[in-house]
Subunit: 341 residues, 2 copies
Amino acid sequence: MSYRVAVVGATGAVGREMLKTLAERNFPVKEVAAVASGRSAGAQVSFGESVLTVQSLEKFDFTGWDIGLFSPGASVSAVHAPRAAQAGCLVIDNTSHFRMEPDVPLVVPEVNPQALARIRRGIIANPNCSTIQMVVALKPLHDRFGVRRVVVATYQSVSGAGKEGMDELWAESRAVFVNDPVKPEHFTKQIAFNVIPHIDRFMDDGSTKEEWKMTVETRKILDPEIKVFATCVRVPVFIGHAEAVHVEFAQPISVGEARAVLRAAPGVTVLDEREDGGYVTPLDAQGEDATFVSRIRRDPTVEHGLAFWCVSDNLRKGAALNAVQIAETVVAQGLLARPAA
Amino acid sequence: MSYRVAVVGATGAVGREMLKTLAERNFPVKEVAAVASGRSAGAQVSFGESVLTVQSLEKFDFTGWDIGLFSPGASVSAVHAPRAAQAGCLVIDNTSHFRMEPDVPLVVPEVNPQALARIRRGIIANPNCSTIQMVVALKPLHDRFGVRRVVVATYQSVSGAGKEGMDELWAESRAVFVNDPVKPEHFTKQIAFNVIPHIDRFMDDGSTKEEWKMTVETRKILDPEIKVFATCVRVPVFIGHAEAVHVEFAQPISVGEARAVLRAAPGVTVLDEREDGGYVTPLDAQGEDATFVSRIRRDPTVEHGLAFWCVSDNLRKGAALNAVQIAETVVAQGLLARPAA
C-alpha cells in the first residue's frame, strides 16, 4: 500500500523539512507533489534523490491525493485545507488555524494518538512547535505523578518564524560584523545579538498568542486540568527551541524517578550529567528527532516541584516530523478514508 | 571633600565600566588608580579625559587610599580585598567571594542601604548581576504586596563572563560566517547562535552556582523568607541581561497596581505597551542605568500571581554602577572611616 502525498508550503522551512522527513523515513509514497503559492510555482525542490517542480496551490486539484501535509501559513490553510479535505484528501495542518476547533484532533503521536479516532472534517492539526516538545516530556511524568501547574520560559529559534526569520538573523548578524545599519523587517527589533520577548501577536490579557497557544494546546492534548503559564522569547539561534520548564506535581516525585520515567518514554532522550557540557543545547539538537531533557532538578520552593530543560529541533519534532508521524499513525491505524486508487 | 579611589581589575569589562561610571557621575575623586594583575601593569586605560597607567596589584600599597572598587575575580579578591581593608581602604567588591559572609553587607542602594550601617571588616559586597536587577524590581512590589515565591528564567549576556566571553562570542560568530571551525574555550559549548543552560559551576543539588546565587543573595538583600527558584542561561548577546520573572504574592495584586508601584520606584523604568516593540530588549538597555520592566501580566494559574520581563545593562547596574552607587551612599552617609588625608 502506498499513498499520494501533497506537501503544501513546500518552499518554506517546514515544507522542505517535510519532504526531507518523508524521504528519510521511507514513508510509503506512490507520488509526492510539491505545492506552494503561485509566485513559487515552477521552482524546484528536492525530494530524496529526485527533484520536484513546485505547483501552484491556487490551481491544485486535491482529488485523488490521499494526504496533504500543510504548512503554508494560517490564512492560506484556512481556505485551502477545507478545499483539500472536501476533495477527499486527509489534511495534516501545521498552522494554528484549526488547532483549537473542537472537532479537529490536535495530535502528538507519543501523547494522544487516541484523538485520531475522531477525525470529523478531514483535518488533523499539528500543534505549535514549543508545545509539542513540552508535552512529549510532560506526558510520561503526568501519567505517573500528575502535572498540576507548569511555568515555562522559552528560548525559541528564528526558524520558528520561517525562512524569512532565518534570513533576517543571518543578514543582521552580517550587518553587525561589517558595521552596516541593521533594519529589522520580520521581527519587531534587531534579533542578532539580542533576545525579543514577543512571538505572535498580543492578546487582551497582555500575553502573546504564542504564550496562549502553549496553555490551551497543552490542555487540549494532555489534560484540560493542567495550568500552564508561559513566557515566550525569540533568541538568535537558527534552529532548535529550548525551554526552562518548572512543574508542580500532584504526587511526590524525585529526580531519580523522573529520570527513570523519562528514559523509558517514547520520543524522549535524557542527557543530564551535571558537569561541563552535560546537557543538550539547541545546536546539539539540530537535525535530531528526539526531545532532549537535561538539567532535571528538584524545586524545593514548592510542594512536589521539579524543573528541567527541554530542547528539540523545532523544524523536525516541532513541525515536519510530528506531521509525518501523524501520517504514519493514521496509516498504521487504517484511518485513511480512501486508499489510493 | 574628595577621595582617593583605586579601581582593581581595571582592564576587565567591569573595571573599565567602573572608571567610566566614576567619571560620568562626577564622583568626587582626588586621585584614581587603575590597578590590575602584574601582566597588565604598564597598560593604559581611560578615565574621563585622562589616561591612567595600570599599576600591579601585587605591589600596590593601599595605605592612604579611601575606596577600592574591586572586580578582579573571586580568588584575587579573596587575597587582596582584606589586605586593602587592613590598610584602611574601604573595599566594594564585585566578586562572589565575600557576598554570603554574615559580617559583609551585600548591598543594592535602592533596596537595602541600611545594611551599610554594619560594615565590620572594611568590605562591602556588590551582588551578582542577575540578582541586582531582579531585586530592584521586586523591592517596591515586596513592600506593598509581599513576595512569597519567585520562579525566574534568565537570558544572560556573555559580558557576564567578562571580556573573554565577549571575545569568544565575536570570534565564534565570525567563524560561523566564514565557515571556519568553532572551538569553544571559555564557554563549555559554542555560544554563537546557541544558548547554554549553565553559568558558573554545578552544585550538589544539580543547580548551578549562578542559580544558587540568585536564591541566597535575594534572601540576604530583600527578605530571608522569600523563595527563589532560578534557571540561568547564557545567550549570544554581548551586553544586557533579561529575566522572565514569575512571582507569587501574599496579597492580591493587579497589573495596574504593579505598574503604578514600579513607576514610582527608584532605579526602575516601566516600558510596557502590549504592542510591537512595546517592551525593552537587552540591546535597548545597553549603556542605560535603569532596570527596565516590561510585559507585566497577571498569572491566573496561581493565587496572587504576576509575571514580568526585566532587563538591565549587566555591566552598569549589574556591576559597575551599583558599586559606584554604594560608594556614593557610603560618602553621603558619612561612613568612610578615614577621610582623605
